[in-house]
Point group: D2
Amino acid sequence: MPKIGLPAIIVNFKTYLEATGSRAYKLAKTCEEVAVKTGVTVAVAPQFTDLARVVNELSVPVFSQHVDPVQPGSHTGHVLAEAVKEAGAVGSLLNHSERRLPLKDVGACVGRVKQLGLLAVTCADTPQACKAVAAFSPDIVAIEPPELIGTGIPVSKARPEVVTEAVQVVAEANPGIPVLCGAGISSGDDVRAALKLGTMGVLLASGVVKAKDPSSVLLEMANSMLGS
Amino acid sequence: MPKIGLPAIIVNFKTYLEATGSRAYKLAKTCEEVAVKTGVTVAVAPQFTDLARVVNELSVPVFSQHVDPVQPGSHTGHVLAEAVKEAGAVGSLLNHSERRLPLKDVGACVGRVKQLGLLAVTCADTPQACKAVAAFSPDIVAIEPPELIGTGIPVSKARPEVVTEAVQVVAEANPGIPVLCGAGISSGDDVRAALKLGTMGVLLASGVVKAKDPSSVLLEMANSMLGS
Amino acid sequence: MPKIGLPAIIVNFKTYLEATGSRAYKLAKTCEEVAVKTGVTVAVAPQFTDLARVVNELSVPVFSQHVDPVQPGSHTGHVLAEAVKEAGAVGSLLNHSERRLPLKDVGACVGRVKQLGLLAVTCADTPQACKAVAAFSPDIVAIEPPELIGTGIPVSKARPEVVTEAVQVVAEANPGIPVLCGAGISSGDDVRAALKLGTMGVLLASGVVKAKDPSSVLLEMANSMLGS
Amino acid sequence: MPKIGLPAIIVNFKTYLEATGSRAYKLAKTCEEVAVKTGVTVAVAPQFTDLARVVNELSVPVFSQHVDPVQPGSHTGHVLAEAVKEAGAVGSLLNHSERRLPLKDVGACVGRVKQLGLLAVTCADTPQACKAVAAFSPDIVAIEPPELIGTGIPVSKARPEVVTEAVQVVAEANPGIPVLCGAGISSGDDVRAALKLGTMGVLLASGVVKAKDPSSVLLEMANSMLGS
């Protein structure tokens, strides 16, 4: 069972300069403030180097952006699930379309992450791929059509049938796994639409990270969750 | 010019549990103590998640184990040079045999790292490969025959001709780039042999990380550098 | 619907010298002879460079060992589904454990192959992974635990529960997709065991390719299919 | 020493439909006719599946587009140097920007190819990368700035300094290795410019493959070599 409240907004900081280092901390603080003010779960996925500080100084749930399918040992430059856990993360994104995993490694990564009591949020680009990743029993599946990422064209409004189908196939393949959607989400309306389609929240990045006023965008999104 | 004193010992923490999280901090502190006691440069390369704490609480030079060839932007799960810099690292290992880069990306990564004033320590597995990476003008080249990594059979004693040839071809291809060697290094003798072959130090991992008493091994290594 | 008769034996030639060039032709001819003699389907998967000759000179069904997820165009060194089709192959192996695909590309490759009327034989290493690949609706799923590949320890006898579970989860996830099993298969007994577990045949390599007498091994296997 | 006459035109068929299957044969025949008519070396690099037929039915020198760094054995879906050789190729392109190799594998592939008496034509995207690949002693280095590939903007005219520098650094790093250039080459003028910059010919693709009249374009290019 997910250890984060649902529905949720997960903000993926990617490698945006606006969300790196001290700005990662600042943006995570904004997320925390919106969460406190609204009671809505707002989680963050900063870069690996920023994980520990955000965990240590804030109360917001923190995800890693990726974990490698390796055991502790002789692996240079890899992201170890144990390290992510000891840094205090609650889980990890896996198989993001910008960090694709071999099918076999999706299973290995979900296994490693869950074995440590962390949440596996596994991404997929199509309903078919959602069904496929659901076979590995992640905690959450996130559907993100890559062609809409960063466009501001919200998947929840432009491709509602994709989201609906993802929700349905995941429910059939592995009942009880919540689905998030992402790509192009940048307003409260987009979030509301996502929830209406059966998702339990959104995974987003530029819509918040590159917003002129991330705080007000997030607040609008959180409020739209309350109103649903 | 390298911003770390040479000769140097660089300890690669890899994804060893003995060098993860609080144990990464503790091992880095041991490195610092040996450096302070002997005056020899001892640098560390902890995992990404441990970089910032080691930098913030200790005075030892810190390297990243890897940097991705990406610019700031829409890249999930990647290691951004700017993030490594803001975390306070002095540089990064690149192209380690456990994190091999496409030839083209070696150039891109060295470029990204140097552009930010960080040190590029580029690894290669053979003298030929050392000559190749030297073409990209990294700050330091480290030769590590992968078949000796983790064996305790020191490259500096078992394959001295490989080290000598690496030193020579790098000097010819791009004069002024110091060469380190690694693989199997686990004693002061191994380090002394490495310096005699013309290297400016060693890159090592298990010889220290998995030693019963890392402090005494490191002290012996540092002292062997002083005696050379 | 598969265009090859089932149950079937598919012989993967890999990059074995014993099955390269003129020896690929010779081994394929042996497969043809056994097929003719017994009436059992024996298909072959030679290297790309050997596909056309085997197709042109023999009547045995020919598979490619891999297809890349690319459209026709500016892709150097890739394997185009259209080229495999024009060479006369009936289909392709996909996602073999020695040629793993990103989860997303499994879908793309199955799509490309099926779109051209070719058979997609998609490999997976565990029942979970079989369920995952079944989401992409390949024509055939082949389960091969990589730790048994090339060992001579037959999956159908050493790990019958793995095969049974694979057959079951594929039937649930996407009814009608036949399952083959592979790894360690080297005798008629192994094949008989595979069929008893609910598979529609075997995918094998060294058991035939590196046999002293491939013809007699294949004949034994084919006969065990008839006797089942 | 290269076993093909220099200067040369190498036509990379990529995965263009216009150069797949029977159309690969037809285009290779056009290349042969131009070679016969002018006496200029025109070599082709068709897809793996088309190699054998082109070799068997025509006299034009044939290159593979890629070779994997594997030994004969248990490797599915890989391109074995021995198979390419037995198919009758004279060599292989390596490390094309559309099929990039880890730095370490460039050495392994050049080694495998040369060990079999085949020609290693190793690609690189910048002068620095040319210097790097020259360290592995390929038979020919081909410089192709990827941003110009397929544009019709000829590297030899738009970026002459890149070509000149490539020629120079290769000569310094490993004297005697001829340099070809590619990207945007689509006319006799472009080829003439390439030779004037010190190259020994061109590596091209769309300029011929997608030309309305490949024969006349090639003839113009070959004649421009004669006139130089």
